[in-house]
């Protein structure tokens, strides 16, 4: 019985890539069809490499740079101001739950608890959207950078010692603003995800 089986494409590709079996090597010596196919596969690789290269249609560096700066700022925010906010949040929670404390009334404490809870919900929504994993176009990246700056300023104000005792209604207002800014950030990222899915 003669050797009538030809090499499979898999075997010929392995041969082309320098990993051919002993059988394939021996078979190629005698089989013009397989030798021709091996040559064709080798030529195909050259033809693929010779296909024209696509060039980027527009300059994307400005949006990459804006997004990179925003991300760096966000890391700083979470690393420094974020810690201050977390500390302030803990302190304020304690104060809010305490019956007496500066000029705060029961209504202030209730409003503060509500504003903080809303802010926490919005912060979790933002976290769930994984904003760090997404590149944004220039306009969206600019809006995000501006919102994050506002958030940073609010968090810095909230971290001021004595803010709650001296002006509880202002602190409640700051937490409400914080919720608003976080909500706007959620909107930007949600819109971006929706557009990417179109």
């Amino acid at each position: 019985m003669s050797d009538v089986r030809h090499g499979t494409t898999d075997e010929l590709l392995a041969m082309r890539d320098g990993e051919g079996s002993a059988w394939m090597k021996a078979h190629l010596e005698a089989c013009a069809a397989c030798a021709g196919e091996l040559y064709r596969l080798d030529q195909m690789r050259s033809r693929l490499k010779a296909l024209p290269e696509f060039a980027p249609p527009r300059n994307l560096w400005p949006s990459v740079a804006t997004a990179a700066r925003a991300e760096r700022r966000r890391r700083r925010l979470h690393g420094v101001v974020g810690l201050a906010t977390a500390a302030a949040l803990t302190l304020l929670t304690v104060l809010a739950l305490r019956p007496a404390g500066g000029s705060a009334t029961l209504a202030d404490r209730t409003a503060l608890q509500r504003a903080m809870a809303q802010s926490a919900v919005m912060e979790q929504s933002l976290h769930d959207l994984s904003p760090e994993s997404r590149a944004l176009p220039g306009d969206a990246a600019g809006a995000v950078a501006s919102l994050e700056d506002r958030l940073s300023r609010i968090d810095a104000e909230l971290a001021e010692p004595g803010a709650w005792r001296s002006a509880p209604d202002h602190v409640v207002g700051l937490w409400q603003q914080r919720t608003g800014v976080l909500s706007a950030l959620v909107d930007v990222h949600t819109t971006r995800i929706a557009l990417a899915g179109l």
Partner: protein, 179 residues
């Protein structure tokens, strides 16, 4: 695309970029944007997807530039980030659409293929993952082991996809089958 920056220049730019020098980051971007976009364009279905991969890749470069140790090829490092972002995008979209991660029958619809296609059209007709395997292996020179790692699949998956893709290309290009 091959290495575009001499090693000494690449090391110097990366050191500056690591220290927060945006001009150095921009230089790295300019040196590699074409290669990254060209690769992304072959691994993703649309020009818009390729633009997103280009942005995601350089955002990752900005984020992790410190992790390139200056030993291997800088282009190789950036290229692997780009390939990974492009393939991740494919996975994400398949999962979002509730489709299987690998759909071998996902070539362009219909069996009424013209008798002869040019290579560019035939390549575009391949299912996205098969095209990625062909491109990464035959053009970019990735091994099957590296492709398997990038795709989260096995080496034999990569080999069989390459063989099937070449069989399809041969048919579409009207180059006939072996006797």
């Amino acid at each position: 695309m091959t290495e575009t920056l001499p090693m000494a220049e690449a090391r110097s730019l990366v050191a500056r970029a690591r220290a927060g020098d945006h001009a150095a980051l921009e230089h790295l971007y300019r040196a590699h944007e074409r290669g990254v976009y060209a690769l992304a364009r072959r691994l993703t279905p649309t020009a818009e997807d390729a633009e997103d991969v280009l942005q995601e890749t350089f955002l990752e470069v900005c984020r992790s530039v410190g992790s390139w140790r200056g030993e291997g090829s800088l282009w190789g490092w950036i290229r692997t980030i780009a390939a990974s972002k492009a393939l991740m995008r494919y996975r994400r979209e398949k999962l979002r659409a509730g489709e299987p991660l690998f759909d071998d029958a996902a070539e362009s619809p219909g069996t009424d293929v013209p008798l002869r296609m040019d290579l560019e059209s035939a390549l575009a007709r391949l299912p996205e993952r098969s095209r990625a395997v062909v491109w990464l292996h035959d053009v970019e020179g990735y091994t099957h082991e590296e492709i398997a790692e990038l795709m989260g699949m096995t080496t034999s998956f990569s080999k069989s996809q390459l063989a099937r893709a070449h069989d399809r290309l041969r048919g579409w290009l009207g180059e006939g089958a072996m006797a």
